[in-house]
């Protein structure tokens, strides 16, 4: 009996593991289905981003499927968790491309993770639309099959600091950043404006990734007399900073960046988070476009998943819309080559939740228009101010 079980297991494993390269030119398409793959951090702290982005993809896919799919084929969405570990992202991409035979990819985890899988994506040639972490390396130099929806962190920071500088002339500035790639990007953007506008920076701090206690940093900020403060944390760090400022009874003008511009963060900040400024390229949920998006999501998602919706659901939705529309334009027999060509031809595609999306020959980055928003604690929302 054991021998039979062992033989059966070996045969099963062998069949599973030895499915070699696809015989068809482009995998992931049957008469009834098109497979779209995605690898996201669905567990651990970055899950706040990864889960939300995957929900955005699901909304766009459900919407397309409800309308009959892509030229009659239903979209099958295959999602893998990488836990924000680079080695697992690589394995995840290999799984969705080699085992699940995805026709195209969406999302692709965080910035470091998507950078690491770039050679793999380029070599495979699979059409990919990245939406979670837009960093320059992903579109400079442009890769034939990789497209990025969003705006660069540098541009975001420059836009935010310019706005705050114009609104608060002659004020003293403070900045704190994380000791990683994200932090360096924030600092680079900040320094560009400091030079151009000759800002008076009285406090400049750097914190270790994972730091939770900001009492000393915020005390130094208070002692420096900073009146405008750029909180360069991502999620939990910004909450801890705002709580400390509340304890110290000081309320400088505060600017945060879009990874932390999610409603649960505002809730956790409490009243201390009221009136902070944020920069983003997707519409706030408080506006008409945001409300319309939530309404659409309600009709297409199970109730449990609605809790995970945040701004990353919007970026995910937009990326999926662009990809689906490109495949659709390829007609009854879509191929990778055609999908890539159609993605390149993307011109002013309306998603309703951000400025129209365009790519072009050698242009793989959508370069979205930015806007400044201000938080309102009483309604747990962000509202546009310009």
């Amino acid at each position: 009996m054991i021998k039979y079980l062992a033989t059966a297991s070996l045969l099963l494993a062998g069949t599973y593991l030895s499915t070699g390269p696809a015989l068809a030119a482009d995998p992931g398409i049957t008469d009834t289905e098109i497979v779209i793959g995605d690898v996201e951090p669905l567990t651990g702290p970055p899950a706040l981003l990864g889960v939300a982005a995957s929900i955005g993809h699901k909304i766009a896919i459900a919407e397309a499927n409800a309308a009959g799919g892509i030229n009659g084929r239903k979209i099958k969405y295959v999602l893998e968790d990488d836990g924000y570990v680079t080695a697992r992202t690589i394995q995840g991409v290999k799984k969705v491309t080699d085992v699940d035979k995805a026709f195209a990819l969406l999302g692709i985890s965080g910035s470091g993770q998507s950078i690491a899988v770039m050679p793999l994506l380029e070599k495979a040639g699979i059409p990919t639309v990245i939406d979670v972490a837009p960093v320059k390396f992903l579109w400079e130099p442009p890769r034939k099959n990789v497209f990025v929806v969003g705006q660069s962190y540098e541009e975001g920071i420059i836009h935010l600091v310019n706005y705050l500088a114009d609104k608060n002339p002659g004020k003293k500035w403070g900045l704190i950043t994380q000791d990683d790639d994200y932090g360096i990007t924030v600092r680079d953007g900040f320094d560009t404006v400091v030079k151009a506008k000759k800002l008076n920076v009285v406090y400049s701090g750097n914190y270790k990734k994972g730091q939770q206690d900001f009492s000393s940093d915020m005390l130094q900020l208070k002692d420096s007399g900073a009146e405008v403060f750029l909180a360069g944390g991502i999620i939990g760090e910004n909450i801890a900073m705002m709580k400390e400022l509340e304890k110290l009874n000081i309320k400088p003008v505060v600017g945060i960046f879009w990874p932390g511009r999610v409603e649960p963060v505002l809730k956790l900040m409490g009243p201390a988070g009221d009136g902070i400024y944020a920069v983003d390229y997707v519409e706030p949920f408080a506006g008409a476009a945001g409300k319309a998006f939530l309404e659409k999501a309600k009709g297409l998602l199970p109730e449990a998943e609605m809790k995970g919706v945040n701004r990353y659901s919007m970026t995910g939705y937009a990326a999926a819309k662009v990809l689906i529309s490109a495949i659709e334009r390829c007609g009854k027999q879509p191929t990778w080559a055609c999908t890539i060509t159609e993605l390149e031809k993307t011109k002013n595609v309306e998603t309703g939740i951000m400025a129209p999306i365009s790519f072009g020959p050698g242009v793989r980055f959508s370069n979205q228009k930015l806007q400044i928003m201000q938080s309102e604690f009483s309604t747990l929302s962000f509202k546009p101010v310009n």
Binding site: L12, A13, Y16, L17, S18, T19, G20, P21, L42, T43, G44, V78, L79, E80, D81, D82, G83, V85, T86, A87, R88, I90, Q91, K94, K95, T97, D98, V99, G112, I115, A116, M118, P119, L120, D179, D180, D181, G183, I184
Partner: protein, 348 residues
């Protein structure tokens, strides 16, 4: 009648492999591994690569923790140092990949002198905490030395080309990893049966008795640190190449714990144990997913979308089970099976 596997001479005791069938099985295994890239898809091949790379690192840690009994919680520090040494030499200064691999071994080995020297008088928990602190210091040094390491931005690493042989493809890179794994396995097996290896084991079993026998504890402990760091650095270089991008974020602290788990599950102090432990720990989540997917698509989806949490739980569960029911690890289980096979139907 043969009643067991007994060594009658000193030569038999130190021989690398004591029976022709073991050579035969080993040769068949290597032949199978050489054939693997021709039959496995890219996803399955990625597991093979990870296994080979991890085997190198686990064998490196095994010299320090398994053979010499010095517990290290900071081996990821040597891993990341090796990866950066390779990336800086090859990607930044365009040196030959072989120079890169040499640097990936030598730089962590030198770093191990810095952590090893003050640790010579430490044992157990104190040594574990010292090595843990070392891994944090290394990360800080890498982040601060931007002029050399690009700080947090990391360094992109290409697959190497050595003497006209390109390791760009997955199959070729798997062979490179296999070469390193086989070489490291032979090296560590030979260290184990040499005078140095026996001194390591003597220190592990009772360092006071070892000193009485004339073993220079400081020199041998330091040698264990250096050898272990050298091998772990090579593993780091391979891992960096596999990731194609070296940054401190790609080398989380949990890798140190995973490496210790591999040794415990495989069987502490055994090279074969390090190999078996690696295979089990790397393949466990995938094998479990495969089995569960037979029952329902929902279970398959659960493993796919909550993979990391489930994997952590599985690792924890397996370690607890091994510590409780088979503390000698997979190697111990294998020895038990062999004994039962030889002695059957007798109990002993």
């Amino acid at each position: 009648m043969r009643t067991g596997d007994f060594k009658q001479t000193y030569g038999e005791l130190v021989t690398l492999v004591d029976s022709p069938p073991v050579w035969l099985w080993s040769a068949l295994l290597v032949a199978g591994l050489i054939a693997a890239p021709f039959v496995l898809n890219s996803y399955a091949l990625s597991f093979l690569m990870i296994i080979m790379i991890t085997v190198v690192g686990a064998l490196g840690l095994n010299i320090l923790t398994g053979y010499t009994g010095l517990i290290s919680l900071g081996h990821v520090g040597f891993l990341v140092t090796g990866a950066y040494a390779y990336a800086v030499l090859v990607s930044k200064y365009q040196m030959h990949p072989l120079v890169g691999f040499l640097g990936a071994g030598v730089v962590p080995a030198l770093a191990s002198l810095i952590v090893g020297a003050p640790s010579l008088r430490l044992k157990g928990l104190y040594l574990a905490i010292t090595t843990l602190a070392f891994s944090f210091i290394i990360n800080t040094v890498i982040l601060e030395a931007r002029w050399l390491t690009n700080g947090a931005r990391g360094i992109s690493v290409q697959r190497p080309e050595i003497f006209g042989l390109s390791f760009e493809g997955d199959a070729a890179f798997t062979y490179l990893c296999l070469g390193f794994a086989v070489f490291t396995l032979f090296a560590t097996l030979n260290i184990r049966r040499s005078r140095v290896g026996r001194a390591f084991v003597a220190i592990r079993d009772n360092d006071t008795a070892a000193r009485v026998m004339g073993i220079n504890l400081h020199a041998y402990k330091l040698f264990a640190f250096v050898t272990s760091a050298f091998i772990t650095g090579l593993s780091g270089a391979l891992y960096g190449i596999y990731l194609s991008f070296v940054s401190v974020e790609g080398f989380p602290f949990l890798l140190s714990i995973e490496a210790l788990a591999i040794l415990i599950v495989g069987g502490l102090g055994s090279a074969l144990g390090a190999v078996l432990g690696t295979i089990l720990i790397v393949l466990l989540p995938e094998a479990t997913r495969l089995v569960f997917s037979l029952f329902s698509a929902q279970m398959d989806a659960m493993f796919t979308t909550g993979a990391q949490e489930l994997k952590s739980m599985l690792y924890g569960l397996v370690i607890i089970m091994f510590l409780r029911f088979q503390p000698r690890g997979l190697v111990g289980a294998w020895h038990d099976i062999r004994r039962i096979w030889v002695n059957w139907p007798l109990r002993y």
